[in-house]
């Protein structure tokens, strides 16, 4: 998760806790679980946020989308339940929400329910996380921008999930 040598020696593990926000559509049937990567704020080379797109009726299906600040990430997912969703996700930093600077995930997505032909459209801010929540406890971290890991193993959820490749314009399937 991090290139920080202190982490590799087993120190500072609490810093790896990320912050998760949820966005749902269609009465909770379509779920976007957005994980803000705290280590990214301290220089980690992983994406700043990851979206896990789930369908409540197909809990074993999880599709991961890496979200970046400098460009939108396009994705398209078809669930076995019949749900479809496609569009883009992008992170924009330090937007003031209720006076608090926040990292915000913006979406321009279309989704379709099983058995339906028409698409629903969602445009705009999906979830937000106070920037300070991601920077506290990590200000003393050392930035090693050129010493990232060779693989892309994601340890956030217990069992490792391999994210294939680094092309942001593809959807990642866990």
């Amino acid at each position: 998760m991090s290139s920080d040598p202190q982490i590799s020696r087993g120190k500072g593990l609490p810093l790896l806790r990320n912050i998760t926000r949820f966005w749902t559509a269609n009465d909770g049937c379509l779920v976007f679980e957005i994980i803000f990567d705290r280590a990214w704020r301290a220089g980690d080379l992983d994406p700043p946020a990851v979206a896990i797109v789930r369908c409540a009726s197909s809990l074993d299906e999880r599709h991961e989308v890496a979200i970046y600040e400098d460009r939108p990430s396009w994705f398209a997912v078809d669930f076995s339940s019949g749900y479809h969703v496609h569009g883009t996700l992008r992170q924009i930093g330090d937007i003031r929400i209720d006076g608090t600077p926040c990292l915000t995930i913006f979406a321009d997505i279309y989704y379709r329910q099983p058995g339906q032909e028409h698409l629903f459209h969602f445009d705009g801010g999906m979830v937000a996380c106070p920037s300070v929540a991601l920077t506290e406890q990590s200000e003393d971290r050392v930035r090693f921008p050129t010493s990232g890991r060779s693989d892309r193993t994601d340890m956030r959820h217990g069992d490792p999930v391999v994210i294939a490749g680094t092309n942001v314009n593809q959807s990642y399937t866990a």
Partner: protein, 216 residues
């Protein structure tokens, strides 16, 4: 009867500008509303704002305040309120609002929720939520000692409709034609641009999108 509340958050108004760039020759009405995520199936969304006779080229400015007003009515038509709040709110409707609030501990609502507790003895109330002076959501027949819960995402649903009036509950047919949810999270101002439409074989569905977005 009175209303008292506690709240958290800050009051702002998001400036929105509707622009009709469509090919719609029918001058459809445009309806905007919010959905109460805490509602049951019987609680239809309310047409919060209607832009009538929306012809191509039309622009229409309006605001979306973060403040809301709560008005309660009882079975005999007595009215309490309005009381304003924003962010998350906890309101108490009682014979003496201040005493009722104290009795219930002036609790704070969960984030993103508006809660209206009926502290009137022996009578049900209807809890009405207004935004910018227009009806936004209703919860009827709240029994004594029970609470109406409104969970409102910072977003507006927008679509074309026929024969719809502000303050009316939306019928299923109108609801089925509204397929766009525009998020207002973090916005200071934005254009809501309508496109699509047309009356021939090249007609496309109406599309609504945010443009010229200015963040807060």
């Amino acid at each position: 009867m009175g209303v008292c509340g506690s709240m958290r958050g800050s009051a702002v108004a998001i400036e929105l500008n509707f622009i009709n760039n469509s090919n719609d020759m029918n001058k459809s009405a445009i309806v905007l509303f919010q959905k109460n995520l805490a509602s049951v199936a019987d609680d239809a969304p309310i047409a919060w704002k209607v832009i009538p006779d929306s012809a191509p080229g039309l622009t229409h400015r309006f605001v979306f305040p973060t403040t809301i007003d709560v008005v309660a009515t009882d079975a005999e038509g007595a009215i309490a309120g309005p009381v304003s709040g924003w962010g998350s709110h906890y309101f108490v409707v009682g014979p003496q609002s201040a005493e009722s609030a104290a009795a219930f501990g002036a609790a704070e609502a969960a984030a993103g929720e508006v809660q209206v507790r009926n502290a009137l003895p022996g009578t049900s109330i209807t809890a009405n939520i207004f935004r910018d002076g227009r009806l936004l959501a209703v919860k009827a027949a709240v029994p004594p000692q029970q609470m109406a819960v409104f969970q409102l995402k910072p977003s507006l649903w927008v679509g074309a409709a026929a024969a719809v009036s502000e303050g009316q509950a939306l019928d299923p047919e109108t609801l089925s034609n509204v397929k766009t949810e525009l998020s207002l999270l973090g916005l200071a101002s934005a254009d809501i641009v309508m496109s699509g439409g047309g009356g021939d074989v090249l007609a496309t569905p109406f599309r609504f999108s945010l443009q010229n977005v200015v963040m807060a």
